[in-house]
């Protein structure tokens, strides 16, 4: 009795800890006042409306979307063949390759950002958007490789041989029998990569240039200049977008199996 009560209390505290900040932000989004404060003063939709009016939010949102979609796509184009090779062939230094590919997860973003800026962007005068795209691709790659590898490990390799014996080429077998069976993993990797890229702060902070900013960086800057609740409103909208994506993913592919 006592132990089950203790358990309930601990669970409630844990949930409050996880969800609490989220409640504060949502409440603040609908504030009637004009500073970011909790508890909110009155109720209004003005800050939610304002989010759509701020020009920089619209352009940085577009850039973040563009990066998240294309960097994740690029990471999958590189990551799927890499995962396949790692799963199916005995590659010299295969484990090393795996570690190197995963390194952007392990190395702090701030170091990656600084390194990319100092040794890639500055010396080669790389365009800001291209630099962001390359950096985000590298950051998403580990997730792509990890999730796709897990799917491949669960897929028997003899179905490819069966396809070949039925007349398919090796490459054809990959597209006909491997890809359809790791579709769920690829979609899960895409979602994970998308969210990772979209929420990326430290690396983007180093690489963003004047007038070219991803949404999280733009929000940081906005808060330094204007302390109104529109950032809270924007955060709420983004949170709901993420929840929506994960909900749909769970519903259709059983997202949690892959992550």
């Amino acid at each position: 009795m006592t132990s089950s009560l203790t358990r309930s209390v601990v669970l409630a505290l844990l949930l409050l800890f996880l969800v609490g900040p989220f409640i504060v932000i949502i409440a603040a989004s609908f504030s009637g006042g004009d500073t970011l404060a909790f508890p909110p003063q009155g109720f209004s939709l003005q800050w939610v409306v304002k989010v759509f009016m701020v020009q920089s939010f619209r352009s940085s949102f577009a850039l973040s979307m563009f990066l998240a979609v294309f960097a994740t796509f690029a990471a999958l184009v590189l990551g799927i063949p890499a995962s396949y090779a790692l799963a199916r062939y005995r590659i010299p230094f295969g484990e090393t390759v795996r570690t190197v590919v995963s390194s952007p997860i392990i190395v702090p973003g701030i170091i990656v950002g600084l390194a990319l800026l100092r040794y890639l962007v500055v010396p080669f005068r790389i365009d800001v958007i291209l630099a962001l795209f390359l950096a985000h691709t590298a950051l998403v790659l580990p997730y792509a490789v990890r999730v796709v590898s897990a799917s491949l490990d669960n897929l028997r390799s003899d179905i490819e041989e069966a396809a070949v014996l039925l007349g398919s080429s090796r490459l054809g077998a990959f597209f006909r029998v491997v890809m359809p069976n790791i579709r769920g993993g690829i979609l899960a990797a895409f979602i994970l990569g998308f969210v990772t890229s979209f929420n990326q702060v430290p690396v983007s902070l180093f690489l963003s240039g004047p007038g070219v900013q991803t949404l999280p960086i733009d929000m940081l800057g906005y808060m330094e200049r204007t302390y109104d609740p529109s950032v809270a409103a924007l955060s709420s909208l983004l949170a709901f977008m993420s929840i929506g994506i994960v909900f749909l993913a769970e519903r259709f592919i059983g997202f949690s199996r892959y992550v």
């Binding site: 028997r156 041989e161 069966a162 396809a163 070949v164 039925l166 007349g167 029998v177």
Partner: protein, 342 residues
């Protein structure tokens, strides 16, 4: 059985690094034969099968099929079918689409495709399952789909990897009958790989016993069972009492022992199944170390001056207790003479 060498392997050698899995293997198979490659794991039988399929490239030697050298022909162009031990059905496709897979690649569409797949499924008794996914089928049904998927391609040779090992006893008999029927109806040349001598004896026209990457003996099931050519084959098919023969004497733990009767010329060893050992009479004596009841018979393990001997007696006879002393004979005329004692 028109052409004596429909499929032939000539000096086939496969090596991985320093390990030679198959060593200068020669084998010649007639059209329509049902061949078993029999041997313990690591004997090279699976490697040989995969080389015939084209999934492994030989280091040297040649493979000829139907008058054509296919050693360097890709696995997808050999007209060789393979039923995998795990069946290897495509999990994302229905039973129908699994069977249609190869036919689609051949360019069949519409009515042609439909009727070929239907008759393929019909021949294995799975017409009503065409809309199911492999995961919704039992192991035996999956195997029949795999069989149909290979057979609709009308392969010149059908390879089967341990076709009965994943099935329970009842299904095993059913599948064995099924394979024999398919073989009879289509006349396809079949080669199956197995480590189970019972499967090989029951199913094959000819058995190729393999050991250490080479052929140990080739023969009909009767020949392999009754006239094993070597100590290894004798042991593999259930001769439990095997002795080297030197100068007409059995070489035993207690030194050479003379036996009654004359062994055939050229025999380097003699082997007796437990049932061939005569009990309760004869020149030797041993004490009972173990008895086990095996239905119609009782098996005795005897400690004897020759070493341990396994004998068999009708279960209707009174049982001998542990420690009892029994006389026994090893009749030379019943023994299988071994040409090689390797």
């Amino acid at each position: 059985m028109s052409d004596p060498a429909y499929l032939s392997l000539e000096q086939l050698t496969l090596a991985y690094g320093d390990t030679v899995a198959v060593d200068r293997l020669d084998l010649s198979i007639a059209q329509g034969e049902l061949i078993a490659l029999l041997g313990p794991s690591g004997c090279g039988k699976t490697t040989t099968m995969r080389a015939i399929a084209g999934l492994l490239s030989p280091s040297s030697g040649r493979i000829r099929l139907d008058g054509r050298d296919i050693t360097r022909v890709g696995a997808n162009k050999r007209a060789v079918g393979l039923v995998f031990q795990s069946y290897a059905l495509f999990p994302h496709l229905t039973v129908f689409e699994n069977v249609a897979f190869g036919l689609r690649l051949k360019g069949l569409r519409g009515q042609d495709l439909e009727s070929r797949v239907r008759s393929g499924l019909e021949s294995v008794g799975l017409s009503s399952f065409s809309g199911r996914k492999p995961a919704e089928l039992s192991g035996g049904q999956q195997q029949r789909v795999a069989l149909a998927r290979s057979m609709v391609m009308e392969p010149k040779v059908l390879l089967l990897d341990e076709p009965l090992s994943n099935l329970d006893a009842r299904l095993r008999l059913e599948m064995r009958t099924e394979l024999q029927r398919v073989q009879k109806e289509t006349g396809v040349t079949m080669i199956f790989v197995t480590h189970d001598q019972g499967e090989a004896l029951a199913l094959a026209d000819r058995i190729v016993v393999m050991l250490n990457g080479g052929v140990e003996q080739i023969g009909t099931p009767e020949e392999i069972y009754n006239q094993p050519g070597s100590r290894f084959v004798a042991d593999f098919v259930g001769f439990e009492n095997i002795f080297r023969l030197d100068d007409g004497k059995l070489i035993t733990e207690a030194g050479p022992i003379a036996i009654e009767g004359t062994p055939p010329d050229g025999a380097t060893g003699l082997a007796w199944r437990p049932a061939m050992v005569e009990l309760d009479r004869g020149p030797f004596e041993g004490s009972v170390r173990g008895v086990s009841f095996a239905g119609g018979t009782r098996e005795y393990l005897l400690d004897t001056p020759l070493g341990p001997i396994k004998a068999e007696a009708d279960a209707g006879l009174p049982v001998h207790d542990l420690g009892a002393r029994l006389r026994f004979a090893l009749p030379v005329e019943r023994a299988a003479p071994l040409a090689r004692f390797g």
